[in-house]
Symmetry: D3
């Protein structure tokens, strides 16, 4: 039986009806990636909210930070693993594979990050991401101190926390709408 071909169970507007700025972004995505990520299409049900989502996404995932882009994608996948979010695991698992050139690393982040060989700094960040996702009420000074011990500054901890927080947001949007990832993600960088 073929797998679902919807983008979002809440429906998606015809891209031709979107405002010019969004149509420009759609064209840029097609040029660069070959497709428009379905999270953007899903969010286009409400263009103002889409713009906010993209602004926040770009800042968290693409701006300068003490955390590398690969590290931010690893965090995205570990959060999505805790929340068992299909869309984000597929889309950001592909990003981990692409940025690391290591197909296994993407699988490990998605399936159980504890089996990966990581340096102490990355392991501490991912342990924090898991705990902040699953039992945020238990985070205390000892957790922040553990991040300081492996060299994270306050600003780094802020960036880590916001990355974790953002994927706790986007995981829930994906689950609430049954968002399906673009099929292109499955094939990329499989080694």
């Amino acid at each position: 039986m073929p797998q679902p071909d919807h983008i979002s169970k809440l429906g998606v507007p015809d891209p031709a009806t979107l405002d010019d700025d969004l149509q420009a972004i759609w064209r840029k995505c097609v040029d660069k990636l070959g497709f428009v990520p379905n999270v953007f299409s899903t969010y286009s049900l409400n263009p103002r909210r889409l713009r906010n989502f993209m602004a926040m996404y770009n800042e968290i995932m693409l701006s300068d930070s003490g955390l590398s882009k690969l590290e931010r994608e690893m965090i995205a996948v570990v959060v999505s693993s805790a929340n068992r979010c299909y869309y984000c695991l597929v889309a950001h698992g592909a990003a981990v594979r692409a940025l690391s050139g290591d197909p296994e690393l993407g699988e490990m982040m998605a399936l159980n990050y504890r089996v990966a060989r990581l340096d102490a700094r990355q392991r501490a960040m991912l342990d924090f991401a898991w705990k902040l996702t699953t039992t945020p009420w238990l985070i205390d000074d000892s957790d922040r101190a553990a991040l300081g011990d492996v060299g994270l500054s306050s600003q780094d901890i802020f960036d880590l926390a916001e990355t974790v927080a953002f994927f706790n947001l986007s995981n829930r949007m994906a689950s609430a709408t049954d968002m399906m990832p673009n099929r292109e993600y499955h094939r990329s960088v499989r080694g």
Copy 2:
């Protein structure tokens, strides 16, 4: 022993050093609320991220929507109850009290929303909020259908989902930084 008087365990910049647009917002908060909410101060560690956060917050909580502002605050508190987030329970519990004029309703949302007397539509929204927060991977068509049955449109479900998602983000920022709520919230609208 006096309770903590920090704003964020990651530290907060001197407001006088912030950009003019942010200082203007700070002044507006003081004029309107009597204080700057500590979540803004916490986020001012990174002004670009603060601006994104405020834009998203304003759109989700204050823009026109099929969900009333009170309903959005009720959702905020129920999500924060599931995540046991002190900051958001105090700040948004006060908002429920203020918008409803019902001090008990705020307490019920914070402590166990199931004891409240609610119409079927509100109860369905809060049940969805709890499930999407605690077990997002179990959300399926039957959950969306239950919302349709009480009259929510696709756009309403989108707004509900994004409100839930947003507080799953902000709860985690608060827990990660041990953010303390402004003391003013405790006193307001106690009946």
Copy 3:
């Protein structure tokens, strides 16, 4: 929509039909507190059991003990927080506010005690209360030793344990009967 005005979903006898000793207690409550706590009204469905409940309550919460009355109320609230018991959080949250004169402390105990500034002894007692409530089967010698390390005697540990145990009882009576707290609690000592 006004919040529920029942006392207990199992019904409550007319106070005028109660035995003289209970009517005397009712009058004493009105004199002292301004109202009869709804837990007594709920329990008056079975007067013999009410008398036992009051005897145990008075002994645990009001007798001489190595734990202060405030500490016992803090334990009551933390147990009720773990069990998300609306009645006990409202009634005993008010007691923490009244005994401490600190409105924030009551909120912290109810919402997430880990954010409070506490001395090591109180923190150890509340950690024990949480664990004994949520995973009693995991309590072992190391938990008792941690209490000894902050100065609790065997008798103090007994008193702590019984306070935790008692609110695990009363939380379940409140949830089983959907017991509503008297509205007076909401207003008191809000700072």
Copy 4:
């Protein structure tokens, strides 16, 4: 290695030092059961609290009620199973065996009550006991209605709830003190 022979990790006073009324109870226990139940010895660390405990115990477990004594013991064991309380499972498992004359029934209550053949009324009571023990915050009108459907009156529901509540208390006293059951329980009514 021989199993533990302590009664309580908090220590137990010499029975000869107890007040006369308690010594009389001790003698009565020996006459009737052949031994003093260790829960009484444990509680004798604080005689006033012991008296309250015995009063409540006798009323809940031995007084007239719409629930039979066997049913109350079955509830006691199911609550203790959820809480994995060794003392109560051994002592009250023996009581189920004795009152029912059915050694398997005691084992089923202790290990997984869902495998037992029960009438609808007993099954509903035990399902309520499990839920009220493990997730009291989820109890709602539908749970009470399910008890009404199998014939329980409001007074019966009160008695059921208090039995569940009481063993949530005593399980925690046993776990907090590492209370060991008297060895006599193991042998009795094994079929």
Copy 5:
């Protein structure tokens, strides 16, 4: 009400229809134990699978190993306790009683192994068994190191792990088929 007298809810073939090798095993069981264990009867619905199950069972539980037969039965019971498997708790609880001559030890393993007096090696093995059963994804090098610290070789850890793994299999066969233990187990070695 008499307890269930079925063997398996999926039905059991007439033993007279089984192949000769199985009938020989049936006779051997009757000679040695007085009965055919119901797990064998349940599995005889598919004789090839029964043969594999018996081969694996015999190798794991009866062959030479660094773990004593009693230790393997203790592990079996602790795994079955975590999974609340009635069949295995009854059958292997009896085996612990028989091999140890200690009726309490069997009960402790079934009800809460943490109350038992055990040497450090046994305690470490049972802690590993519990964790590998309930949260296998959290097992890491520190867990294996803790076993090495109490003297287990790699081969011993393999045997421990396979015993845990095997009862995670058999617990699920028992739960899936509602397998009832032979009544003879209840009576044996009760002290």
Copy 6:
């Protein structure tokens, strides 16, 4: 940092030292798959146990059954998803991709089977697999009836249960030994 290249943290014997029958199987694996699955190498630490494991594996996964080979692999992956078992998710995820020719189906089974489009029979089998894996003690007649309703015979339910049970065994062997999957699995059938 390159990912781990061990096979099992308990060590693996030199294949040249294995008995002839096992060396023959090793050669057959290389001929057919291009490699020896690391689960066999891990188990070769104890050849008798390896033989039992292979016999059981072959019978459950490859023999005639009312469940197709693809369905059995889907069950294997869903069980491994519940247990977050890296080895089995990688190895059997590849098998789902290979047998179905559908790369997305493999990912869905591994990450959250509820997002897949499945017929009612397959969905019922996977719901049963998840419940039997995570809360086996809650399986009851209604669960078996749900399988009968979609056409499963008693023998089919037996096969389903044993498949679930077997991967609950093998997941734990993999986690206990930190078993790494052969790298070849990652690349296969990625669409």
